[in-house]
Structures are given as structure tokens and as C-alpha cells.
Amino acid sequence: MHQLWLIPGLPLVGFFLLVLGHGRFTRSLARLIGVGSIAIAALITLWVALDFYSPGAAQTYQVELWPWLTAGELEVSFGLYLDGLSLSMLFVVTGVGSLIHWYASGYMWQDPDYQRFFAYMNLFVAAMLMLVLADNLVLLFLGWEGVGVCSFLLIGFWYQDPANGYAARKAFIVTRVGDTAFAIGLFLLYRELGTLDLPSIMVLAPEKFVVGANQPTLIATLLLAGAVGKSAQLPLHIWLPDAMAGPTPVSALIHAATMVTAGVYLIARTHGVFLQAPDVLLAVAFIGLFTLLISGFTALNQTDIKRVLAYSTMSQIGYMFFALGVGAWSESIFHLMTHALFKALLFMTAGSIILALHHEQDIRLMGGLRRQLPVPFWCFVIGSACLVALPPTSGFFSKEAILNASWQLPVYGPWFWAGGVLGAFITAIYSFRLLFLVFFGAEKVQPHEPKGWQFHPPLIILATLSLVAGWFVLPTGDVLPSSPAGHPPMWTIVVAIGLPLLGIGIAYQVYVRHKWQGLRLAHWQRLRQFWFQGFGFDGLYRRLFLTPFTSLAQVNRNDIIDGLPTLLIQLSRFLHRLFSQLQNGQLRAYIATLASAAIIILALAISTVGK
């Protein structure tokens, strides 16, 4: 396990090489460095995992690389920490990450900024690995901000188009709201516990905090705000659909598989604090539930292939939050892993379609692609089946586990379960609507399928993994609290399997056989518009924050505060002119001044006599 530092180190070295050699490397060399660094990191992850699983090995490994900050009581180090949870995340980040890099090396081949793209991607992976491996929350925060910056850089990768820059800024600023709360949460945590070391927090939090008391509740709320911002959950979810402005591999890596799940990782990592704040945990469940429903409804009538997938990502992360909230900790991380696999698969397949159609993303202009693009078609089918949780794909195992756990929650259990199942039903409709619109029906365009070793192999590997990942066992059992024991009644499982099938059936009737047209949203224009706009959150925030802010800026156009210093300058100049006129050079005036001033000094002195 001593090679652990190499895992974030290699992508960082790759980043520096690519940046320092900017414009001097050939494309092949840039590809070798960019993809190679991640691939080797993935191999080292395997090596570390072998160590980890070897009999008798310690289940945690902590190493301090070097001290970072030392100020009084506060000591922060560059330290790495490996346990079952971070190992699971390592698999996702390096494994899925290297497949996406592999794919991206072909996808971006024509781009003039090939090397810059891989520099950013490597920096992103390095930051993400830092986030996952950090042994203290300050270093985690460094990685957290690092992935935020890379997300900003990569959303705006094609910066020549102002719309992309706008999307990048939106993503950065909206997540900043959460990050600020996160930072304040860290300060509070340090004040209460005196340490930000993760293993110590896990020990100290149950000792020092009373369950349900104010401090843990406040801290957990602030940490949750950070997680909500990063993971695009309500109410800070509005940036993710716009983030699709970045290149498709970026959407696959950052905005589906890894970065957006950092919020889930944060909550799982600090579960010691969250367990002391049951109210906040309940809020986590509600946030997840509402997000998964709202984004599901929104996905129903999107027309951009990537936006559909973006809303489905939000919805699936909603399931993860939901799982955390109902106490299904390991299941949440399990769903994180399976979702990373099948969502990366879906995004990369979408990327292949977009490339084949010359950067066309509107699904209304697609159709009948199943014959021309067989490999993407079958990959998309597998990905959609996982997303809809059809047995026996990996998505089925992870989602079933979450729904089962939610049923057993006291009081709210059945309601939560019903919400989750409703979400699964909607998921089935929108995923297969997408599938049918793109691959079935009349052929509208003539695609040029990108071929080569960079396109099909990663897709096929991911598709295989998505199918079989349900049988994987993640080593999170020792780290995270165990989920509620017991089994829900049999009929709940039947319903949970049956409703998605019903959803697929409806989608088939409506979009392939063109029956039941009364169900089409086109008949309810206002509702359609409302859902299309993501329940109007963008407009709400514009009215709540943007408009007042810009109108204030408009009012303060001439910088009112600046008037004060200007006034001071004017006053100084005025007094300067005034006094200068007294300095007229005439001796008689000078003597008169001297004499009258002497009288004043005398008067002031005499006034003190006798006091």
C-alpha cells in the first residue's frame, strides 16, 4: 500500500508535463501522457487493492506525506487515508476515468487544443483523487475546490462561444454557494472538535456531540449545503444541465461519474457527524427524493440528448442522497459505483452518436439509428436497462437495495418507498423515450460512425462491467454503518420491478407505435413548458438574486462609495486654494496674523488660570 501516493501523483505529473510542454508535444505524445498517467494510476489502484484484500492486511492505511499548515493548535498535513470507502471511490475514479480518457483520446483527436484538454483532465483526476484519499477535511477541501476549478475550465473548454463561458461561470458560481457553507462548516467543526483529521472526527464526533443537539445539526447542515452544491441537488442543481456545454467525455467523467458524486462521498465520509444529526439526515433523504422526482419529470420532455442524460444524472444522485438519508450507506456507495459505470457508458455512447451526426444533439432530428450504429445502439440499450433497473443488470441490484432499505425506515418508510418507485417509473419512461426516439422510427439522417480502437473497446468494456457489476462486493461494510436489517414484503419487490416495465411499455406505445397520443405532453402546453424549464428554478433564481443584484449594480453605476474619496479630494483642493490665498506674501498681513494669533494663544492660556 506504500505506492498509494503515486495514484494522485501520476496524474499531477501528467498535468505538469502537459502544461510545461504546451505547444511542443505531438498529439501522440500528449495522448500517451494524458491517458497513460491515468491508466498507470488505475493499475496501481489494482495493486493497492490486492494488498488491501490480502489476508491479515490492515483495513485502514494512513500516511503523512509532509506537513502543510502549522499554526498554533492547528496542524494540517498532506496525508493520505485508505479504507474500504476510499478504495471503492479509487476504483471508480481511476477505472472509469481511464476508460473515459481512452475514449476521449479519440473523441477529441480533431480538436486544436488537444494537449490543453488532457492537461485539464489530468489535473481533474489528480484533484479528485486528492479529494478521495485525503486524511483530513482541509486537504479534502483542496481537492474539492480543485475539481471545481477543473469543472469550470472544462465546461468552458470551447471558450470561443460565449454561451459555454456563461455555463462555466454558472456552474462555478452556483457551486461556490455550497462551498462557502462547506468552509464555514469546517471552521465550526474545528472549533467544536479541535481537529479536522478524518479518522479522529469519526472517533470524536459520537463522543463530543449529543444526538440532535445544535452543534452537530448546524455543522451537518453546512456540510450538506456543500454536498448539495457539488452534487447538483435541490436547490443548487441548476448548473448541471448547462454544464453539458463541455465536451462529452467531460460530461461523462466529471458531470456523471466522479465529481458530482463527491457530495455523496462527503456525507458518507463524515457520517459520524451526520449520525448525530438525525434531522439533517432526514433532510438528506427529502432532498434526494425531491431531486429525483423533479429532475425525472424534467427529463421527460427535454430535446437535447445530453440534457436528458444530465437530468437523469441528477435524478440518480438523488437516489444516492435518498439512500444516505434512509440509512442505506453502503447501498448508496454501491449505487454510486454502478451509476458511474452505466452513466459513463450512456454519455460516451451519446458522444459517439453526436460525433456521427456532426455535433447534432437534438433528438427530434434523430431516428432509426439502430441499423447504422449497431454498437452504440446495443451499448445504449444496456445502459438504459441499467438506468431503468431491469433485472439482472447492475442498476437493478443497487436500486432494489435502496428501495428495500427505504421501506424499513420508521414512520416515513412506505412514503419514501412510494416516491422512489414513482421515480423509477418515470425513469423508465424518459430513458426509453430517448432510446426509441434516437434509434427507432424513420431514418432522418445519414450518420458517419466514428470507428477505431478508441471508440468501441471502451464502450464494450463499460457495457460488460455495467451488466455484471451487480455481483461486485464493495469493501465499505467495515467503514459505513450497516443498513437496516430485515426484508420488506414480497409485493413491494414485484411492484418495483413491474412499474419500470410498465413505463417502458408506455414509452413503446407512445413513441414507437404512436398510440395513446393523449399521454403526450404536447397536449398540456403549460405543464410541458413548466417541466421543460426544470420547474422554473432558473427563473426563480433570476428573479430572486440576479435581477435585484443587477439593478443594484445599475443604481450604483457611478460608484456611490467612490464619491466619498472624490469628495475628500475636492475638499482638499478647495482648502488648498483657500489657504494658498492667505499666503499672499505681504509682510503687513503676516504681522497682523502673528499678532492676532498671539492674542488667541494668550487668551487660551489665561482662560486656564484659576481652574
Partner: protein
């Protein structure tokens, strides 16, 4: 008077003998170079002697003079300033169409007066010292009267200084008379009066107030400052340097001895007047300097402001006497020394420039444009002087101002402190403006070669300004030693 007392007077005797030797020398042979050398060596010897005597027991020489560490240290400072004034005058007078040698006689007499003032603890010696200094200065200010180069200003300045100085001295003398009428003695140490002084007495208060008028005139405290810009501008640059540095140091040294040593009790009556003068000086000095275009006039206004800051140390001793006395004395002495150092640097630059082209002292700042690229040493020295006057860290000016702030905070003089800060920020404007002008693209040709002596003077003064700013510990130790 015994030999020990006589030995302690050696610096004064040396300075006095310079003037006698020069008179004789001129009678036999006029040589500018020789005259200047004799003067400089005399000042250097006297300063060295005064400084080397530090630590010896204080000597009361006759009732008139006291030679203690305080007068030795500040006497040495006055003598060093005089040395610089003689040094910088050589190039200045060499290019002037005016006889040069008498300047050094007048300078040594003025320096003698300043030394007497620093050492006096008796009103008689104070008055003699003050008048010796002032009368010599009348002639020095108007020294270039016959020169065709700048006739109008210099004579006017000399006459103005003479008349106004006479008026203020009459106030001073009247004040001394009133105090004598009450105390029956001219010694400034009123503790010798049997039963102690009755400080509520009208005689004492009015006498002290009238004396303050005389002192305030010499210190250019507003509203007694009116002469300052005219005289600073009209006088030859080396004389302005003496006016700005030596006179202020000597007069304030006497004020410190007079007001502070009397346990600060005099001050209670004068505090209101002093505070008023401090407020006005800080504000008006800086405001008047704001858009001033003549550099010497600008430095005149700047010296008004700086002397206004200095009142903080006087006001600090007033409320509860001896408590803050040592800090205030220390702050005042350090401020005076650092101020003398950086002012001399500024005037040394102006003298050197005026020696080449008289427009540099009579003209506007426009003549300085681009000097940095043609005369880097001169312009660099001026930049350093301006930064020091503005109170930038790592220069002497910062240490001086730091001590004033320290004194003000110690004595909780919040209003004066606020004005000090405000004044300093206003000051930045015109000091930086001078630097800005120096860095502009050149407009006229200033490619002349500076003599070795001139370069050496500038470098020594720059070194002192930087050294006091970077490593002020020796200075602070000397001052603490001198006032202990």
C-alpha cells in the same frame, strides 16, 4: 570655571574659533576651497568631540549653560547638520556670481547660536543663542542679494525673516520679563524658587504663553508659519537646509528642556494653545503643500506639517506629568534626528541641482521632469528623501513617525493621532507627486557631471537615512542614554 568645565565647552569653543579663524584667513587670502575645508573640519571636530563626551558627568558651566548628554547628542546633531550645510554650499557658491567666504563665517556663528540654545538652561543664554542664530540667518537668507541670478526673492525673504523674527523675539523677551517678575530669577528650573512655583500665577502663565509665541514662530507652527514658504523659497538652498533642520532641532531642544523638564506642569496652561497649533499645523501644512509647484516652498509647507506632528510629544507630557515624560522625550529626540537627516538629504539634492542650474530652486517642478534618467544619483536621493518624509518603512522617516504614534497611543491623544494619520496620508500625495515628476520622460538636457565631494555627501546622507530606517537600534540606544 575649572578645567573640567572648560573642557566640556570645547565644541562651543571650536565652533566659535572657526569664525575667528575664517575672519583672519579672509583678511590675508580669499580662498573658497580653504575656507570651506576649515569650516567643515571645524564642525566635524566639534561634533566628534561633543559625541565622544557622551556618558561624562553633566557639567553646569556658569548658571547659563548645562552640558549634559542631552545637549551633547543634539549639539552633535546640530553640528553635523551645519557640516552638511557647509559641504553642500561649496558647489552652490562656487557657481554663484557672489563672494563666497563670508557665508561660512555666518554659518559658524549661526551654528554656535544653535549649540548655545541646545545647552542653555537659563533664559539669558537662551536669548543670546537664539539671537546669535537668528541675526546670522538674516544675513544668510539674504546672502545672494547682489547676485544677478535671483535678486528679487532672496532680499525679500531676508527682510521678511528679519522683521518677523524681530516681532516674535519681542514677544519672547516680554514673556521672559514676566517670568522674571514673578520668580526673580532667569533660570528655567523654577524649582529653585523657595516653596516651589505657584503655577496658577497669572505672571507665569502669561509669560509662558508669550514665550510660546516666540518659540512657535521659529518652529513654524500655524498660525505663526506665514514666513516659512516665502523664506524657504527665497533663501539659498543650503541656508534653507539650515533653517529647516538645525534651527528646528535647536529650538525644540530648548523647548523640551524648558517645558518637559519642568515636570510638564507649565504645559497645563499652554496645552490648549499647543493643541490648537498642532491641529492647524498638521492640516494646513499638508493642505498648503498639496499642489505646490516649487520644491523648496513645498518642503517649507511639509516642514510646517512635520513640526505640527512634533507637538504631539509636548501634549503627551501634559496630563499627568512624568508618567509619559521619558517616552515623549525619546520620541521627540528621535523624530528630530530622523527629520534632520532626511531634510538635509532633500536640500543637499536641491543645492547640487541649483549649483548647476538656478531654475531648480526658483522654478517649478516641471524642471525636474525626467531627472531620474539623466541624473540617477541626484534623483534617487530625492526619491529616497521624499519616501522618508512620507514615512515609508525602511527609511528614517518611518522610525520617527512610529515613535510619534507610539507616544500618542501611550498618552491616548486620539484626536491628534487621527490628525497625524490624516496628515500623513495627505502628505503621501505631494511626496509621491515629486517622485512621479522625476520619473517622467526628460524634457531638457541635464547631462552634467557631479563632483566627487557632492556624490560623497549625497551617499553619506542616503546611507544615514536608510541606516536609521533599517537598523535604528543604535540611535534609539543613544537617545535613551542621553535622556536617562
Amino acid at each position: 570655571m575649572n578645567w573640567v568645565e572648560l573642557a566640556s565647552l570645547i565644541p562651543l569653543l571650536l565652533v566659535a574659533s572657526i569664525s575667528v579663524i575664517l575672519l583672519l584667513l579672509i583678511a590675508f587670502a580669499r580662498s573658497h576651497k580653504l575656507t570651506c575645508w576649515v569650516t567643515c573640519i571645524g564642525f566635524a571636530l566639534a561634533a566628534f568631540w561633543a559625541f565622544s563626551q557622551m556618558g561624562d558627568t553633566p557639567q553646569q558651566v556658569t548658571p547659563l549653560l548645562i552640558i549634559d548628554d542631552f545637549s551633547r547628542l543634539l549639539g552633535a546633531v546640530v553640528l553635523l547638520v551645519s557640516l552638511a550645510c557647509a559641504w553642500m554650499a561649496y558647489a552652490y557658491l562656487e557657481t554663484a556670481d557672489e563672494i563666497c567666504e563670508e557665508y561660512y563665517i555666518l554659518l559658524s556663528l549661526a551654528a554656535l547660536g544653535a549649540c548655545v540654545l541646545v545647552s542653555s538652561n537659563h533664559f539669558a543664554s537662551m536669548f543670546i543663542g537664539l539671537e546669535l542664530m537668528s541675526v546670522s540667518l538674516f544675513a544668510m537668507v539674504g546672502y545672494m542679494a547682489h547676485s544677478k541670478q535671483q535678486v528679487s526673492m532672496t532680499l525679500e525673504a531676508g527682510v521678511k525673516y528679519m522683521v518677523l523674527s524681530g516681532v516674535s523675539s519681542s514677544f519672547l523677551l516680554f514673556g521672559v520679563a514676566l517670568i522674571y517678575a514673578y520668580a526673580g530669577t532667569l533660570t528655567i528650573d523654577l524649582k529653585v524658587i523657595s516653596g516651589g512655583p505657584h503655577l496658577q500665577s497669572g505672571y507665569l502663565v502669561v509669560g509662558a504663553a508669550l514665550m510660546l509665541v516666540g518659540v512657535a514662530f521659529k518652529m513654524s507652527w500655524v498660525p505663526f508659519h506665514m514666513w516659512t514658504p516665502d523664506v524657504y523659497q527665497g533663501a539659498p538652498a543650503p541656508v534653507t537646509g539650515f533653517l529647516a533642520a538645525a534651527v528646528k532641532v535647536a529650538v525644540f531642544a530648548f523647548v523640551m528642556r524648558w517645558l518637559m523638564m519642568a515636570q510638564g506642569e507649565y504645559l497645563n496652561g499652554l496645552l490648549l494653545g499647543l493643541t490648537l497649533m498642532a491641529v492647524l499645523s498638521m492640516i494646513m501644512g499638508n493642505l498648503l503643500a498639496l499642489r505646490q509647484s516649487n520644491l523648496k516652498r513645498l518642503l517649507g509647507y511639509s516642514s510646517i506639517a512635520h513640526m505640527g506632528y512634533l507637538i504631539v510629544t509636548l501634549a503627551a507630557t501634559a496630563p499627568d506629568g512624568a508618567a509619559a515624560l521619558s517616552t515623549a522625550l525619546e520620541g521627540a529626540a528621535i523624530y528630530l534626528i530622523t527629520y534632520a537627516c532626511m531634510t538635509m538629504l532633500a536640500f543637499a539634492v536641491i543645492s547640487q541641482l541649483a549649483a548647476k542650474d538656478r531654475r531648480f530652486e526658483s522654478g517649478t517642478l516641471m524642471d525636474y521632469e525626467g531627472l531620474l534618467f539623466q541624473q540617477p544619483l541626484l534623483a534617487g536621493s530625492l526619491i529616497l528623501a521624499m519616501l522618508a518624509l512620507a514615512g515609508m518603512p525602511l527609511t528614517a522617516g518611518f522610525i520617527g513617525k512610529y515613535y510619534l504614534v507610539l507616544v500618542a497611543v501611550d498618552s491616548q491623544l486620539w484626536m491628534l493621532l487621527g490628525l497625524l494619520v490624516l496628515g500623513s496620508s495627505l502628505g503621501l500625495y505631494y511626496y509621491l507627486r515629486v517622485i512621479l515628476v522625476l520619473c517622467k520622460p526628460p524634457v531638457s538636457d541635464h547631462h552634467w557631471v557631479l563632483g566627487t565631494n557632492e556624490k560623497l555627501l549625497l551617499m553619506l546622507l542616503m546611507l544615514a537615512t536608510l541606516w536609521l530606517g533599517i537598523y535604528p537600534t543604535p540611535l534609539i540606544e543613544w537617545v535613551q542614554f542621553a535622556i536617562a
